[in-house]
């Protein structure tokens, strides 16, 4: 009884430990690895993301300028966004919402012939993408 009373008083006066979720949503943290987004206007279709992806959820057609992404195979590790030479790939701070069916995201853009000098692929990345 003597042990419990301070606990009961503390819990009565303390604010709630939980949030009323759908009505009260905690704002997302900065730099969270949320949904993957590709800005096709910037994308050079170099294919580095497809080579580096550990879950192989990205496929790139360099000639046709098509970028295909399977969000259900993606593990949201953020490696593609880290190494993207054109900086067109980035992760939003919002997570993807659950869906009832599978979907694949296909983006079409203008393929570029050359990667600009300022956005060269780092050396060690070059080594592996050759294989």
């Amino acid at each position: 009884m003597f042990k419990m009373t301070p606990n009961v008083i503390r819990n009565l006066l303390h604010k709630k430990a939980t949030r009323l979720y759908p009505r009260l949503i905690r704002p997302a943290f900065e730099n969270v690895r949320g949904a993957l987004f590709n800005d096709v206007a910037q994308c050079t279709f170099c294919g580095v993301c497809a080579v580096k992806c550990p879950s192989q959820c990205i496929a790139v057609d360099k000639k046709a300028g098509i970028w295909i992404y399977d969000p259900f195979a993606c593990v949201f590790c953020g490696i593609c966004a880290d190494i993207c030479p054109a900086e067109s790939l980035h992760q939003q701070s919002e997570y993807r919402l659950p869906l009832a069916g599978r979907e694949t995201i296909t983006l079409k853009g203008e393929p570029k012939q050359k990667i600009e000098k300022t956005t060269q692929i780092p050396e060690e990345e070059n080594d592996d993408s050759k294989d």
Partner: protein
């Protein structure tokens, strides 16, 4: 009375993972135990033939869903050792900070599940409330909640700003205060002690003979902790393993509870001593040779054997997880116990089956 065989698992309310035990029972007292494993085998070790050694980090992280950071760290340390890469000092400290946060969240998860195993659901919720704070720290600093994916060969992928370190310190103080409130409930409560004291006793000699690792070994009085090797930045921090004496379920929960505090202390030390500088160095070439690395996972010693031949893919990867070492001990302590004590004793070794079967 006739012998009865009762299956325990692979689906059981107390087990988070599929461990199957065939319990031979006589008058509600266990006389024999036979384990069956292999329900969640995924063949991750064999993926070295398909994924290159850098992509393997993301595969390795998925060996264990709870202590992913330590698996990736162990793998990266092995590859770095083979390639002769020296990780920048700041990256070493960052690895220790994140790995100790991971240990804390894993122990808090276990403490909650352990409370749940003897039906103390409000204690379970309180422990998981504290754990939620740690997951928030992970999300704010690395971007993901559990599989934080910060390790790369040659360093870490994310840095911590001064502000993040300060907020981490204040969050950790909150965790320490909350743990203090739960200490009397877990360690001095009459009902909890009735379910844990003297249950599943593993003597020091028996533990040594069976090669037990981690908190299970330390609760039996063996002062064995891979962090004593001083890997990464641990050599520059004060560290003394937490050791229990009795070797029963109570001692195991006490060791894990105190290890959370020890991890809080290690994170504080690491934040105080963290040097400035770069966090990642570029690597060139590919690994060749063979190596063995060991780190202390929340459940005990994690052992990686890596063999490489200079190509893009590794030749062989072998992982030995702590639960694999602790299952023989579990089988030796179960005979002679009441059937009603089995959930508590099985959970007391913190079985991680998806780790073990990979």
């Amino acid at each position: 009375m006739l012998k009865t065989i009762i299956p325990f698992g692979p689906q059981h309310p107390v087990l988070p993972e599929p461990l199957h035990l065939k319990l031979t029972v006589e008058d509600e007292i266990i006389t024999d135990v036979f384990p069956a494993l292999g329900f969640v085998h995924r063949g991750l070790e064999n993926l070295v033939n398909i994924r290159d050694f850098q992509q393997m980090i993301q595969v390795i992280e998925r060996v264990c869903g709870i202590c992913s950071m330590l698996h990736a760290m162990c793998f990266c340390q092995g590859i770095e050792e083979m390639m002769g890469v020296e990780v920048p000092p700041r990256a070493k400290f960052l690895r220790i900070i994140w790995s100790e946060l991971h240990r804390m969240q894993s122990h808090l998860l276990w403490l909650g599940l352990f409370a749940d195993s003897f039906g103390f659901e409000s204690l379970f919720m309180q422990f998981w409330k504290i754990r939620e704070k740690l997951l928030d720290i992970n999300e704010a600093t690395t971007g993901n909640r559990v599989i934080i994916s910060v390790n790369v060969i040659g360093g870490v992928r994310r840095d911590l700003s001064g502000e993040q370190l300060r907020s981490m310190l204040s969050d950790i103080s909150w965790i320490e205060d909350e743990m203090g409130l739960l200490e009397t409930t877990l360690l001095s409560d009459y009902t909890v002690k009735k379910r844990t004291v003297g249950k599943g006793v593993l003597s020091k000699e028996k533990a040594f003979e069976l090669g037990v690792v981690g908190p299970t070994a330390r609760a039996s009085g063996i002062a064995q902790d891979m962090r004593m090797l001083g890997y990464s930045a641990l050599g520059q921090l004060d560290f003394e393993p937490v050791v229990g004496t009795d070797g029963d379920c109570y001692a195991r929960s006490k060791v894990r509870f105190q290890e959370v505090r020890q991890s809080i202390n290690l994170v504080r030390q690491a934040i105080a001593k963290i040097p400035e500088g770069e966090i990642r160095i570029k690597i060139k070439g590919r690994p060749a040779g063979e190596t063995v690395t060991r780190v202390e996972q929340p459940r005990g010693e994690l052992f990686y054997y890596i063999k490489a031949n200079g190509s893009k893919n590794l030749e062989r990867l072998r992982i030995r997880t702590p639960t694999f070492a602790n299952i023989p001990a579990l089988l030796s302590i179960l005979p002679g116990m009441w059937l009603s004590d089995v959930p508590v004793v099985v959970l007391s070794i913190d079985p991680c089956i998806s780790c073990t079967e990979r």
